[in-house]
Amino acid sequence: MSRVRVLVGTRKGAFVLTSDGKRDRWDVSGPHFGGWEIYHLKGSPADPNRLYASQSSGWFGQVIQRSNDGGKTWESAGNKFVYDGPTGTHLWYDGTPHPWGFARVWHLEPSLSDPDTVYAGVEDAALFRTTDGGQSWQELPGLRNHASASSWQPGAGGMCLHTILLDPSQPGRMFIAISAAGAFRSDDAGKTWRPVNRGLKSEGIPDPTAEVGHCVHRIAMHRSRPGVLFMQKHWDVMRSDDAGESWREVSGNLPTDFGFPIDVHAHEPETIYVVPIKSDSEHYPPEGKLRVYRSRTGGNEWEALTKGLPQSHCYVNVLRDAMSVDTLDPCGVYFGTTGGQVYASADAGDTWAPIVRDLPAVVSVEVQTLP
């Protein structure tokens, strides 16, 4: 019978939650790396027991951890992230030039085919890659050397490269997103990049054709249809049907189109999920009701999913990397909150139950479906 492993990164450690395919009883392992911020953990699609974790601390900096047994044991890997060549400057919050500086790894994206190859999205925004299982990391400098990079500015959380999508149908094509520069696409395995932000409209950017400067919070794709992308922008839920060449808004009847995560049903490429948040200055759900919204039409028409979620006095946030889906049937949907709850739905969002209620603030949630 299939199993599910949920990898949870929190402000104070990592947790591994496991269940059988019914997804109603869970074993909880952790905290791993207690006291450290775990921005992200993710397993290799090519070897599900190979996991990578980004462990960081304001005192001790960046550490990368690797597991070869599904998270039972861990070993520290290489943590040397050095930009390739002169770093130059980007813009600071006040619009003045600010030197590029490494802060932490936000997102780890293992290769679809090689367990030893992993991409790392870092703050200040850059893309790194290891091909030796995390022992050494090299920057793919074409992104940071893009002609627009000196005009990039950080979002409130820092200038982070937080999303990495690998196109399963076209080796070499990948998408990344940076707050607050926008989305970028490479068609040559990360050597060169170009912004793919046409159609995004952002408050505070008067030029409607601005190439960069958009605060993209998250992008998602379905493996069977990688040319279709869904985006949760700072405000606005967006959709592209041409691999990012153009975007159109699909916020439709959402109660608010601000939010962080967005994800796609494992078996229905037109079914997508978001968690509307009241505003960018009030990072909690509208009306104190924690609601996942599902669209079965690829956007525009949304339904609130509330069964099992708190519908009063709930003021948590759901961060950009804190939602994921499994590949069982029916599809499981998972998300974690800044209040330390990890909610799971084993019926594609119709009903929800907490797996755990009292973890540290959840930063990331990834799910592995295991044989």
């Binding site: 790396f33 006291g35 450290w36 601390s57 304001g58 005192w59 001790f60 900096g61 960046q62 550490v63 520290s76 943590n79 040397k80 050095v82």
Partner: protein, 98 residues
């Protein structure tokens, strides 16, 4: 052998309990002790000093024999009591944050 006391999180990372002992050849300086520490425990590289500049991370400080050595040049000799193993070299994390 030079005795080194690490903050709890770095002891966990290095998988050690209590003090660490490192051998230093030549003059026992700040730099030499940290070099020896990182050679013996490679997972500590980058967590005490920057990988490239080798500058002390901002929220850490170095102490020995009740002296704050944090701002001393890297080639500063450590006190005789540290060299003799009578006193430890302390890597201390700032008591700040949440």
């Amino acid at each position: 052998m030079i005795r080194v006391v690490l903050p709890a999180h770095l002891r966990t990372l290095a998988r050690v309990d209590g003090e660490v002992k490192v051998a230093v050849e030549g003059p026992v300086t700040l730099r030499a002790v940290l070099d020896a520490l990182e050679a013996g425990y490679p997972m500590l590289r980058g967590t005490i000093r920057d990988h490239v500049t080798l500058q002390r991370r901002p929220f850490l400080r170095f102490f020995a024999c009740e002296q704050d050595l944090s701002l001393e040049p890297p080639d500063t000799p450590l006190p005789d009591a540290v060299v003799a193993g009578a006193e430890p070299f302390l890597v201390v994390g700032a008591m700040a944050g949440g």
